[in-house]
């Protein structure tokens, strides 16, 4: 029954998240030192730990807003941690064949597994718990697999560079709960062709960059009252990373990342409703209904029911700067610490239409939904949630350890 106490809680919880966004971008596209360089044939393993406390997100106008404010008490955040486990193989299975191009260009494949923790703090958790939505989600995330081929290495004086082509597939095998505000899994497929390059200048300045176009499938089971998009827009991703080699052991890098949706996200199964009535203030203020509406000055209580849609947002985008330090220990390990700071973005918002119903005392201390419609199609501004819709405005910390179990 709590789930439907929803309405007055909805806005604040809808404002919550976007944790998976930095995570997924970090997994696939945020390049690291020599990310796209031609590596010696062998097998490489990597563990990355991402920690973040999301206190702000971007709205559709590009403004930073504090999570949950003013609908929950101050200090709310989304705490999250992701562990990325990566395995990379580099070799040439066509070396002894006559297959054009591949016979003399090494290939690579990588698989990425994800484990994650995402929980809203108690301010938000209290709200979501009241109406039955789960405040977070832990467990395994989606699985990523990619394969590609390296291009030739070229040299022009002090400049050395190579390119590569690859395609990543994201399989939605991660833990996903339609009742949860936050999920580790995304519940939709993605296919991501990618071009990338790596270059060195004087052996000191290392530059890695990529362009990737992400085709996203549909999510037929949106979570959290339908406030995750069902028809997810495709994305364009641009990343570049510039590193300076101080010694054989020490590197410093800065990076820039930008991603944008190609067109809007669509929401086709929005289901905001409540079984217990909300008062006029909650109805009009928390749901964003025009305060000049006649019901807003009422002392009565109301029920609402959203129209399922479809609704569209204005699309999303996010810009990120990173800075990190690397230490290469012997020839088998890399230790890295990186900070990523969002500097601009636009998150997803939709204007859902709510029908407002009167609440009739049931003479037993409670209320039932009346048959009278107090107002029809009242517009209510809602935030899209989760990785396809929300854009974090808070920094995250990345700790990364690359280890060669089997040194090439």
């Amino acid at each position: 029954m709590h789930r439907l106490r929803t309405v007055r809680r909805t806005f604040c919880t809808a404002a919550l998240l976007l944790l998976a966004a930095p995570a997924h971008a970090g997994i696939v596209f945020t390049p690291h030192l020599s990310e796209y360089g031609r590596l010696p044939p062998g097998q490489y393993t990597e563990a990355t730990l991402i920690l973040t406390e999301i206190e702000h997100i971007y709205d559709e106008n590009g403004d930073k807003i504090q999570i949950g404010q003013p609908f929950v008490s101050a200090g709310a955040s989304t705490d999250a941690s992701l562990a990325l486990l990566k395995y990379l193989w580099v070799g040439n299975v066509f070396r002894d064949t006559s297959v054009w191009y591949l016979k003399d260009h090494p290939q690579f494949c990588r698989v990425i597994g994800v484990l994650g923790y995402q929980q809203n703090t108690e301010q938000v958790g209290d709200r979501t718990r009241v109406f039955g939505a789960k405040a977070g989600g832990n467990g395994p995330g989606d699985a990523f697999g990619l394969c590609g081929v390296y291009g030739d290495e070229h040299r022009f004086g002090p400049l050395q560079f190579n390119g590569l082509l690859a395609t990543t597939v994201k399989a939605p095998v991660g833990r996903y709960d339609t009742d949860a505000v936050l999920n580790i899994g995304t519940n939709y497929w993605s296919v991501i062709p990618q071009f990338a390059f790596h270059s060195k200048l004087w052996g000191r300045l290392w530059i890695d960059g990529t362009f990737a176009y992400q085709f996203n499938g549909d999510n037929d089971k949106p979570s959290f009252l339908g406030l995750t998009p069902t028809d997810i827009a495709n994305w364009r991703n641009y990343e570049v990373n510039v590193a300076w080699k101080f010694t054989e052991h020490w590197f410093f890098d800065v990076g820039y990342g930008y991603r944008e949706s190609v067109g809007p996200n669509r929401y086709e199964k929005v289901n905001i409703s409540n079984e217990e009535p909300v008062n006029a203030e909650d109805n009009c203020i928390l749901l964003g209904i025009d305060r000049n509406g006649p019901e807003c000055n009422s002392t009565n209580r109301f029920f609402v029911q959203s129209k399922p849609g479809p609704y569209e947002d204005k699309g999303i985008d996010g810009t990120l700067l990173t800075a990190g330090i690397y230490y290469i220990y012997r020839t088998s390990s890399v230790f890295q610490i990186r900070v990523a700071q969002p500097i601009a973005g636009h998150g997803s918002q939709i204007t859902a239409l709510l029908d407002v119903y009167n609440a009739v005392p049931d003479n037993n201390g409670g209320y039932t939904r009346g048959n009278t419609t107090v107002a029809v199609d009242r517009p209510s501004k809602q935030y899209g949630v989760q990785e396809a819709a929300a854009v974090s405005a808070s920094p995250f910390l990345e700790l990364r350890f690359v280890y060669l179990f089997w040194a090439p």
Binding site: L115, G116, E122, R129, A135, N138, R175, T331
Partner: protein
């Protein structure tokens, strides 16, 4: 022969760090191992059908306050990778370069559920409309949390000797560990594989070999928990778990060539747990004909928890690279977390505070069993563990490096 035995012994200890939850303290757990990579895999089974209550009395139900019998049977697959290694050996860094270290990552998968009275309460939909106990579930199985540990040998494992050293008659190790709560967590179920709670731990362990084939290990640890933002089952699980202190002791001796017997004892002592605004109890006071019972808001505390166990293990080196071990752990004393939960009586039934004609009045309290980490189970647990040594040598290989 002595080298072989030394190698075996060095290799067995890695199993000790397999279980961050301190399922069992294995013999020689604090002995420094020869550098290399080790893997531990295990299977743990526990009926979890009884507890020690707050007074330390053994009860035949995991949640006595629910009435009848309740059990949380557990079957867990454990895994852990461990590395022992010198670090920055040739750099001359104070403390770091002069000793060996170890790192470990642990993971698991747990199959668990709620059987008995509490399971029936969760499945009962008849009370959903009139209480907060709605939309409850039973299934909490899934992957467990991820644990990370890093330690340094303060005494007994100088880096300068790791290539030649055959035994470690005495060693002291200091470790730090943390829990990443990535495990599957169902806040609507009484029990889950994951804890949804991060923690940090410090430990000091000492290892001693009084004579050939004998091992004594003693450890103390302290663990602090972070907040659980979404405490399970109507917040009958603690929102803030009290700090834990651990003590473990193990004695082991060679019984035959490649066969070792060990006995061990552990103690866990936990500070009071806090339960924030519990939403319901499985044993609410009976409402009147026109009233309903609702828990009073507030933070409630139990009186702390504890658990003492003893156990034995049989350890067999199948080959130089494989060890099989069977452990049995028997809890002998303990205390579970319990608290009194006040109720208010709402008239008329189902009304909400602030609604017209809705009145509330204190209605006494009920005794509630804290769930999750507040339970100190009295059931025995069985652990089968295998350990594999991937090969000994410097963990951080280097081609062309100077030693």
């Amino acid at each position: 022969m002595s080298r072989v035995i030394a190698t075996l012994f060095l290799f067995v200890t890695c199993a000790a760090q397999a279980q961050a939850q301190d399922a069992v303290p294995q013999f020689a757990r604090y002995m420094p191992l020869y550098p290399g990579m080790y893997f531990n895999g295990g299977y743990l089974q526990d009926a979890r059908d009884g507890v020690f209550d707050q007074q330390g009395i053994k009860r035949d139900s995991a949640v006595p306050s629910a009435g009848g019998q309740t059990a949380f049977p557990e079957k867990t697959l454990l895994g852990a990778f461990s590395w022992h290694f010198p670090l920055f050996e040739s750099y001359g860094l104070p403390f770091v370069s002069s000793r060996t270290h170890f790192a470990r990552v642990g993971f698991s998968y747990t199959d668990t559920r709620t059987d008995g009275e509490l399971g029936r309460f969760a499945a009962d939909r008849s009370d959903d409309a009139s209480t907060e106990a709605d939309r409850l579930e039973n299934e909490g199985s899934g992957n467990g949390d991820l644990t990370l540990e890093f330690g340094s040998y303060l005494v007994g494992s100088p880096a300068s000797q790791w290539r030649e050293r055959r035994s470690a008659p005495f060693a002291i190790v200091a470790t730090t560990a943390g829990n990443l709560p990535y495990g599957a967590y169902n806040r609507d179920a009484p029990i889950s594989a994951g804890s949804n709670t991060a923690w940090a731990q410090g430990r000091i362990g000492a290892h001693w070999q009084p004579w050939a084939g004998a091992f004594v290990d003693l450890g103390v640890a302290w663990r602090e928990y972070f907040q659980n933002y979404d405490a399970a089952f109507g917040r009958q699980m603690p929102t803030q778990q009290g700090d834990d202190r651990f003590v473990d002791l193990s004695l082991a001796h060679r019984a035959a060539n490649g066969l070792y017997l060990a006995a061990f004892a552990t103690r866990r002592e936990g500070e009071p747990n806090m339960y924030e605004n519990p939403r319901f109890a499985p044993n609410p006071p009976a409402p009147g004909a026109t009233t309903s019972m609702v828990p009073a808001s507030g933070n409630y505390f139990d009186q702390g928890t504890s658990l003492d166990t003893v156990g034995v293990s049989l350890n067999w080196f199948v080959t130089q690279r494989w060890l099989a071990a069977l452990h049995f752990v028997k809890p002998v004393a303990g205390q579970s977390g319990e608290f009194d939960l006040p109720y208010n009586e709402h008239t008329p039934a189902g009304c909400k505070v602030g609604a017209p004609n809705c009145t509330t009045a204190p209605a006494g309290s009920v005794h509630v069993d804290g769930l999750g980490p507040a339970r100190s189970y009295s059931s025995g647990r069985l652990l089968l563990l295998v350990t594999h040594n991937f090969g000994l040598g410097d963990t951080f290989t280097c081609t062309g490096c100077e030693r």
